[in-house]
């Protein structure tokens, strides 16, 4: 089953072989974990979103029209889940005072240190607006084309380009603050 195509495995699952679904989970778990972690900012939420997405995909597997493109279909479900979880957290977060200064003045090592640099990127990413972060990740990290991003998100290409542009501007701004601090 390891080398079987997605379509073959989907057909097997639909015939009743539930355990075959594990192959699809193992195949795509890490690939989409990266997106979920960057989008949601922590591993715990990312795992919840991933688990939910895989479960929803299983539940509606019979409606997957093109099983050869199962991975793209699954990714759409995951993108939606991350949006919902992000929105829920955003509403809760507004009840707390966000200490902006703590984000920029926390003791950081010299940016040349790899781990510190990575932390700064992660921190800056989480300060983007959710729709900008989503567009940036899809374009630059998942390396999708704008047409595919549009199919995935339901957002028009020009709006997506605007979001990516603003995300890049904001990231440069945030990360140059770190370097000049």
């Amino acid at each position: 089953m390891e080398g079987s195509s997605d379509a073959v495995i989907v057909a097997r699952v639909l015939r009743g072989d539930v355990e075959a679904y594990r192959t699809l989970v193992e195949r795509y778990r890490d690939q989409y974990a990266r997106y979920a972690v960057h989008m949601l900012g922590n591993r715990e939420d990312a795992e919840e979103a991933l688990q939910d997405a895989f479960t929803r995909a299983y539940r509606s597997l019979a409606r997957c029209e093109d099983p050869e493109r199962f991975s793209a279909w699954l990714f759409r479900i995951l993108v939606n889940r991350c949006r919902t979880m992000g929105a829920r957290r955003g509403r809760r977060a507004r009840t707390f005072v966000v200490d902006e200064s703590a984000l920029t003045s926390a003791a950081v090592d010299h940016p040349a240190d790899g781990n510190a640099w990575r932390e700064e990127i992660d921190r800056a990413l989480q300060r983007l607006r959710p729709e900008q972060r989503e567009a940036f990740l899809l374009k630059y990290v998942e390396e999708l084309g704008y047409d595919e991003m549009s199919r995935l998100t339901g957002v028009g290409v020009s709006a997506l380009k605007m979001r990516v542009m603003r995300a890049c501007d904001r990231l440069r701004e945030l990360l140059s603050e770190v370097h000049s601090a």
């Binding site: 509606s60 955003g90 709006a159 605007m162 603003r166």
Partner: protein, 209 residues
């Protein structure tokens, strides 16, 4: 007591609801979910709450592939929100207003602010105001800001058509990169000024900008 026993006891408790079930729900929900949802709908009917929104919520959950327990929770929460909404709105508020108000509560608007909005509107339906308020919050306008702006628009007597245009303009501004709160405040100012009186900044002393 194991799961099987708990399920039987639960079924027994909701047995009265098993008498009459909506055929469209019966076609989409598994039996335990159907029984639980029907019981919630029956309770809502007894409390004189609209029941179609509850039925629609269950159908929505089924269409989106949600599991039974999640559907039951969603229907239950909606019935609670509709109860709160009904108490906050004017007597005789219709199903559409209650639905829209339940949506606003779900977005984080308080029942106190719902009542303030109703008071500002008087006998006018607040359905459109609530839909616009919910949309603003969904587009990341902070809840206090969005609530204050819609209240001011309501007090200015802005009509539903103008509210709809306001929502479209704010959306377009945000899509072009504007800060949501700034976009909403600016557009609201323009709308109110056309009707007379500028909106004040949210939670301010009431002086005009």
């Amino acid at each position: 007591m194991n799961r099987l026993a708990r399920a039987f006891v639960a079924l027994t408790l909701v047995a009265p609801a098993a008498r009459a079930q909506d055929p469209s729900l019966a076609a989409k929900l598994d039996r335990p979910t159907l029984l639980a949802v029907t019981a919630i709908i029956d309770s809502a009917r007894a409390a004189k709450l609209p029941t179609k929104p509850l039925r629609d919520k269950a159908l929505e959950g089924a269409a989106k592939g949600s599991d039974g327990p999640n559907i039951v929770v969603a229907v239950h929460h909606l019935s609670i929100r509709m109860g709160s909404a009904k108490r906050a709105l004017r007597p005789g508020a219709g199903t559409d207003e209650i639905k829209a108000a339940a949506g606003a509560l779900d977005a984080g608007v308080s029942t106190h602010d719902l009542a303030r909005l109703q008071s500002a509107a008087g006998k006018r339906p607040v359905t459109m105001s609530l839909a616009v308020l919910t949309d603003l919050i969904g587009r990341q306008v902070p809840i206090p800001t969005a609530t204050d702006l819609v209240l001011q628009l309501e007090r200015s007597g802005v009509k539903d058509g103008e509210l709809s245009l306001f929502q479209r303009n704010v959306r377009a501004d945000i899509d072009r990169g504007a800060d949501p709160a700034a976009a909403a405040t600016t557009r609201a100012r323009g709308l109110v000024q056309r009707g007379g009186g500028a909106p004040t900044s949210p939670r301010s002393s009431g002086r005009a900008d």
